[in-house]
């Protein structure tokens, strides 16, 4: 049987959470299920997005590793100090 829209959304939510760095503990899974149930009940079209939003609002995603990446990312290059190059004659 083909997976329903809700099953697809749940699978994606759990995958996203685990790849984003959360450990899928029973309370988190429960929160995810709850968020998805609410999104379905509210007749949301974007179940995945709405569920994640609900999880965030509920504080289940606080201290996420994925949110710290931007703060911890090293500086790509130092500040530029421009100078020029002399081209040799042939």
């Amino acid at each position: 049987m083909r997976a329903t829209r809700t099953e697809q959304a749940l699978r994606r939510i759990l995958a996203w959470l685990s790849w984003a760095g959360w450990e899928l503990t029973p309370p988190l899974e429960q929160a995810a299920l709850q968020a998805l149930a609410e999104a379905v009940a509210a007749g949301e079209v974007d179940l995945f997005g709405a569920s994640l939003q609900r999880l965030r609002r509920g504080g289940a995603l606080n201290g996420a590793e994925v949110d710290r990446i931007a703060d911890n990312c090293p500086v790509l290059t130092p500040p530029i100090r421009r100078s020029s190059i002399g081209y040799g004659r042939y």
Partner: protein
Amino acid sequence: MRRAAEALPVPGNLIRRRWYMAALLRRSALTLLVVGQTALATWFMLTVLPYRGGNALEIAMLVLFALLFAWISFGFWIALIGFFLRRLGGDRHSLLRQQDAAELAQTPLARTAIVMPVYHEPIERSLGGLSAVYQSLERTGQLEHFDFFILSDSRDPDVWLQEQAAWAQLVRKLGAAGRLFYRRRQVNLNYKSGNVADFLRRWGADYQYMAVLDADSLMGGDTLVRMVQLMQRHPAVGLLQTSPELLNGRSLFARVQQFSSQLYGPLFSTGLAAVQLGEAAFWGHNAILRIQPFMAHCGLRKLPGWGLFRGPIMSHDFVEAAYLGRAGHEVWLEPGLRDSWEESPPSLVDELTRDRRWVKGNMQHLWLLLRSRKLRLAHRMALLNGIMSYLASPLWLMFLILTTIATTQQVLWPINYFPDPYQLHPVWPQWQPLRAAALVMSTLALLFIPKFLGLADAALTRRLPAFGGFPRLFGSIWLEILVSALLAPIRMLSHSRYVIEALLNISLRWAGQNRTSETGWVDAFVHHAPGSLIGLGWAAFALWLKPMFFYWSLPVAVPLILAAPISVILSKVQLGQWLKQRGWLVTAEELKGSLLLDGLSTNPLTGQRLPGFRESVIHPQHNALQVTMARSGRHGRRRKRLAALCQRCVQLGPQDLTTSELSLLAQDAESLQQLHQAAWRARPRSPWGRLLGQQIVRQPTPEPGSAFAVAPLRPAMLNQHPPVTRTPSDGRLPDYSEYADQ
């Protein structure tokens, strides 16, 4: 910039420097030896020819013979000089011996940038090598003086996104934030030299010196520290080049090259350095240069000529050394600086692919050799040396052709006893096979004596155990000679073709290029088929013409005929490793190990699955990292274009976009974020939905990870992009293959 150049300290008069007179004497002696030996051999050749040089054909043969013999003789004498100087404990004029070691060690260091230009390189190896250099410098306690720059010119987003992710991981693992940087040019002008120039324009003013590494380079921290100290002590030196040896060879081909570089290399580099002294060449990497004069004098204009001699200079290094010399700065090759390494191409096909680029670059130097003003003679000779490295091949080929014509004439044409209409006495043409054999033997002696000098050098410096002991070393030398003899005709024919292509500015592709470490049979046969047919045809003609000529042709014809199997067998890693386990073709570092090489084997990037475009869109952590590093704040028409591309990418999938379109998206933070959100919301049967679905099925277990050490993916669909190679093969990228190793 002229003002900047004028503000530079003017180095002292070249003539007054102590080494200059020694260089003049040595070069004069070398010229006498080479010319004298060549004259003698050419006279001997004259006596071998049937008409004693009495017709145009024989004169042409003599000229070619003289040129080729002089080339071989030059190599022989360089090795001999190197051998004797090493017996004397080194060259007293070398830069390293102009102060004692204690004095040198006391010299304070200065800000130095270590730059590694990369273009579609194997990321794990290139950044792993840089990590080993970093750790080696850390062990010296002098890391604070050095900053590291990865200068990428990669165009394929699958490659440069991986480079960025690998850089971030490396910075985290080494604790190198603010010391190890990554820069990717948006516009790739003027190949590698343009990439380095771009770095210098932006950050050159922050550093006094710049050490240049190739993607496969490796240099010890102590060596780098000593190089900076030498530059500090000798302000007239603009560039200091080490003599890198080969390492890390796995295939039989690479191991043979590595063995010869480590056994014979020191002789040649010592000899060459002794003749060049302060007017040496730059080999493009494993060198340090003084940034101020380099920036003032070494910008490379496009060549203004025609065909090959028009456009950017492909092989920049020799030219930069010549320009530094022209500005009065010294360029030194210092073979005493050890712990400087690079890698050999894994197979003959890879080497020939590389040589194709090098041939073009070196042939371009013809224009500079003849037209450039005020270059020092020594640097003109260095340019000529580079040109002859490849021009020798068509000269040899031409010599073989003329020999065949001469033999054909002698066998098929009626003998002309009176070639000169006014001569009174007949000329009796006769070949002198014994004399010819003696001439061949003496030529072979010039080629092979340096190899046994390498053996003697190893014995006298008590390095025999480092090569596995005398019996194995002796056997390895004979194996190397056999391989060299087999490779010489194949290289000759390929180089001849490349030279013709380069001079006519055309591309005569006759086969695809092998990019894997081992050469497949089909690839090898396709690649070498024309050469094999030429060899077979020539041998058959020789047999039909005259049995003796057939025997003469065999040393050249047999390797050409068997080029494909030779190429396949030499590329075998298993064979190389089998010999290594038995102590054949081994080198000192393999037996005794070194901290630097250990750093390479404990590469922090080993086994890491780095994210390409698809992973950077889908995976939340990869996406967050790439979004942080991408540009933001694009407005107006650019934003509209990006939005349209983004929409196309969402609807049709990444495979519908070109490499440059994907690059545009990947370097824009908003687009990456939008794609991430769209991919996770995509309908299951859409392109992104399918990619995501397969990912989820294949990776059911969550893996703990940190901000940058993202869990390795095990993608199937995501991995549809081609493997990273030194040169892209998808046909959509610009032809930019002149970059690598130039």
